[in-house]
């Protein structure tokens, strides 16, 4: 859709007047400022995280012009200790969670993609009803604690494993797969699991990628659930560590491995703080470009049909 429109609009149609120089300049400035407001802070954070202590001191704070570079901050963070562990926790929760969420969502989206099947309406109704009314913070907390999930990583995964929205979008996509394809496979004796795996999934890669990104970002960014359910701070994921040591500037014990001298609790240097920010940022920056092209296609059309 986007491709065709942009192709159609690539050339200025004959009837459209040429924009005035002032108009062009205004538009260019506006767009540059908007893009800069996103890119510049990220650039400064990355640069500061890679700068030497002298460069940071000379800049008096965030570094905007590259000076002396050094990976010291990252080396220190990955020497073992709070941040290393937090990164591992976040990675573990994100991969496990995304995998579970995707499998459960794909299965249910396919299971509900055939109107007229047994219990189709009540099941769909039950899922859609979750849009209208959330159970609330306190009952959620009491449930998780009565299941014995306090201080368990499962508390970060299970309660949010299925999002009705993602399920509905994916279902809408599956319903769009031409029935001729699935029907003929069924005539050939393929079971539902086989049809899903061999026919429906291969043509739905885009939407699976987008929903996967949504889930993954949700798990990676999960902050409050960890505050709520994890009392043991050795289990904290990266977002909580980010808040504690960067936003609130608490002292951080870094490089505390068994064979070095116990690190002195110092307020973390700016470079170290910024490298924690970068760690929280990196997965999004990396995965995002691969999924971006599916956005309009997968999300809009899926949501429309939902």
């Amino acid at each position: 859709m986007t491709a065709s429109t942009s192709a159609a609009r690539a050339a200025r149609p004959a009837w459209e007047e040429r924009p005035s120089p002032a108009g062009r300049a205004a538009k260019g400035t506006a767009l540059t400022l908007i893009v800069a407001s996103v890119v510049f802070p990220i650039y400064m954070v990355v640069l500061t995280s890679l700068s030497t202590q002298e460069t940071v001191t000379r800049a008096g704070g965030l570094v905007s012009i590259p000076g002396g570079l050094s990976p010291a901050a990252y080396k220190e963070l990955f020497a073992g200790g709070v941040v290393t562990r937090a990164v591992l926790v976040s990675l573990g929760v994100t991969t496990t969670g995304t995998l579970i969420s995707l499998v459960v969502t794909v299965l249910a989206a396919y299971g509900l993609s055939r109107p007229g099947s047994l219990f189709h309406r009540p099941l769909l109704f039950m899922i859609l009803l979750t849009f209208l009314f959330g159970p609330g913070l306190i009952p959620n907390y009491l449930l998780v604690s009565s299941l014995g999930l306090i201080d368990s990583y499962w508390a970060l995964i299970l309660p949010s494993a299925v999002t009705a929205f993602n399920l509905v979008v994916m279902r809408a996509f599956f319903m769009n797969v031409p029935t001729e394809m699935t029907d003929s496979a069924r005539v050939d004796g393929a079971g539902e699991f086989r049809i899903l795996w061999r026919i429906v999934l291969p043509v739905s890669k885009g939407v699976v990628a987008v929903i996967g990104l949504f889930y993954a970002v949700g798990y990676w960014n999960s902050f409050f659930n960890a505050v709520l359910y994890l009392n043991d701070n050795s289990k904290w994921p990266l977002q909580v560590v980010l808040r504690q040591y960067v936003l609130q500037g608490q002292s951080l014990v870094v490089g505390q491995t068994s064979d070095t001298i116990a690190g002195q609790p110092l307020p973390p240097s700016l470079a170290i703080q910024m490298s924690i920010v970068v760690l929280a940022l990196i997965p999004v920056l990396f995965i995002y470009p691969f999924v971006q092209r599916h956005f309009t296609k997968g999300v809009i059309i899926g949501a429309v049909k939902g």
Binding site: M1, T2, T5, R9, P13, W15, E17, P19, I34, V35, V38, V39, P41, M44, V45, G60, L62, T105, A108, Y110, G111, P115, G116, L118, M126, I127, F131, F133, G134, P135, L137, I138, P139, N140, L142, L143, L158, S160, T163, A164, F165, V169, E192, N221, F223, F224, N225, L228, Q239, V240, L242, V246, L247, M274, V277, Y288, P289, Q292, I300, V304
Partner: protein, 360 residues
């Protein structure tokens, strides 16, 4: 809490209902005709699909034999939602109890509506409500139009490649966590942030924009714009792409200038989406997001930053007044539900699809 935000997005995206009709390949004709006829057509197609997918009822056992794999597939999701949505929904009975975790739900005494009575007499509850509504109103005025303007601006970028890059960049902050966004803002606007740093370099006093309760509304709206305005353009861009280009050409030939065309063609083309999103936002008036306020409540103080969600958290988890917090959550949920139902009614009245249809 994450769920709240996701469903927020969801409702917005679900609002693409009418945009769907807009994006369906439009034939020729005036936009109104096109819209009506395509929506009618799609509806009849949908109906046809339903009746053909719904063969004459077979006996239960034969349907079970046919559909058991589908049921099996739905089971895990249904089970998770049942356990983590519907069970806690029932857990709300503690709002009518004097609940104690040591006694348990079964044996805690029922005290009727006392919790709700206390709640309605609690000044801090009303403060949080007022804050929430104030933030909603402020953002309705100062946040809501931003994605529309941004979408029109992006749509006017001619070179497809450049446009894709800009889109990619402005969508991105949507995927950052609130901790990250608040941290970045602190690094820019805080007492030790970039602005203060520049001011100090030039011999002025540094300023801390992150801890001033008087400008907190501006700050959170600015953060919301930075994080979500780009992503919010998606739906408007889809609607823009669906506007019939011939209309622009015809009116240009008739002598309408750039601004005239925007007023008479672009805006009417976006109108259904705008109305829908507006109604949905009103239905969602009590949800302003949780983490953003949770994270900044300490810095600016309770007076400015306490919203209903944070009220529930602080009143309960820090004091152990479970029943009271559940009552507050329940009130918020019920009022929210009412607002959604009203908003949906209004949507239907406007001839829009709303978030749900009467039948599926």
């Amino acid at each position: 809490m994450r769920d709240d935000r996701v469903t927020g997005v969801l409702k917005d995206d679900q609002g693409t209902g009418p945009a769907g009709d807009l994006t369906s390949p439009a034939g020729t004709g005036t936009p109104n005709n096109v819209r009506n006829s395509t929506s009618k057509a799609s509806r009849s197609i949908r109906n046809a699909g339903r009746s053909s997918g719904n063969p004459p009822r077979r006996p239960f056992l034969s349907r079970l034999r046919r559909d058991w794999p589908l049921l099996l597939m739905t089971l895990p999701a249904a089970g998770l939602l049942l356990l983590f949505h519907y069970v806690p929904l029932l857990g709300n009975v503690i709002a009518f109890q004097d609940y104690s975790p040591y006694v348990g739900i079964k044996d805690s005494p029922f005290i009727g509506l006392s919790n709700f009575q206390w709640l309605l007499q609690d000044q801090s509850f009303w403060d949080a409500t007022l804050n929430t509504l104030g933030i909603t109103t402020f953002q309705l005025i100062f946040y809501f139009p931003v994605p529309i303007v941004l979408a029109v601006l992006l749509d006017s970028v001619m070179r497809p490649r450049l446009r894709l890059i800009i889109q990619g960049i402005v969508y991105m902050p949507h995927f950052f966590s609130w901790v990250l966004v608040v941290t970045l803002f602190q690094q820019m606007l805080g007492g030790a942030g970039l602005i203060s740093q520049i001011l100090r370099d030039h011999g002025y006093q540094g300023i801390d924009l992150m801890t001033n309760p008087d400008i907190f509304l501006l700050l959170v709206t600015g953060e919301t714009i930075w994080k979500d305005a780009g992503w919010g353009t998606i739906i408007f861009l889809a609607a823009l792409a669906a506007i019939d280009q011939h209309l622009y050409e015809a009116s240009a030939v008739d002598g309408a200038g750039r601004w005239k065309r925007m007023w008479h063609i672009t805006l009417p083309g976006l109108r259904p989406v705008i109305i829908l999103l507006l109604i949905l936002r009103l239905g969602d008036a009590l949800n302003v997001g949780f983490e953003q306020f949770f994270l900044q409540r300490d810095a600016v103080g309770r007076e400015a930053a306490e919203v209903l969600d944070t009220f529930v958290y602080w009143r309960t988890l820090t004091t152990g007044e479970w029943s009271y917090g559940a009552a507050a959550g329940l009130v918020k949920g019920l009022v929210g539900l009412m607002l959604i139902l009203i908003a949906n009614k209004v949507a239907h009245r406007f001839g829009e699809q709303g978030i749900y249809k009467r039948s599926r």
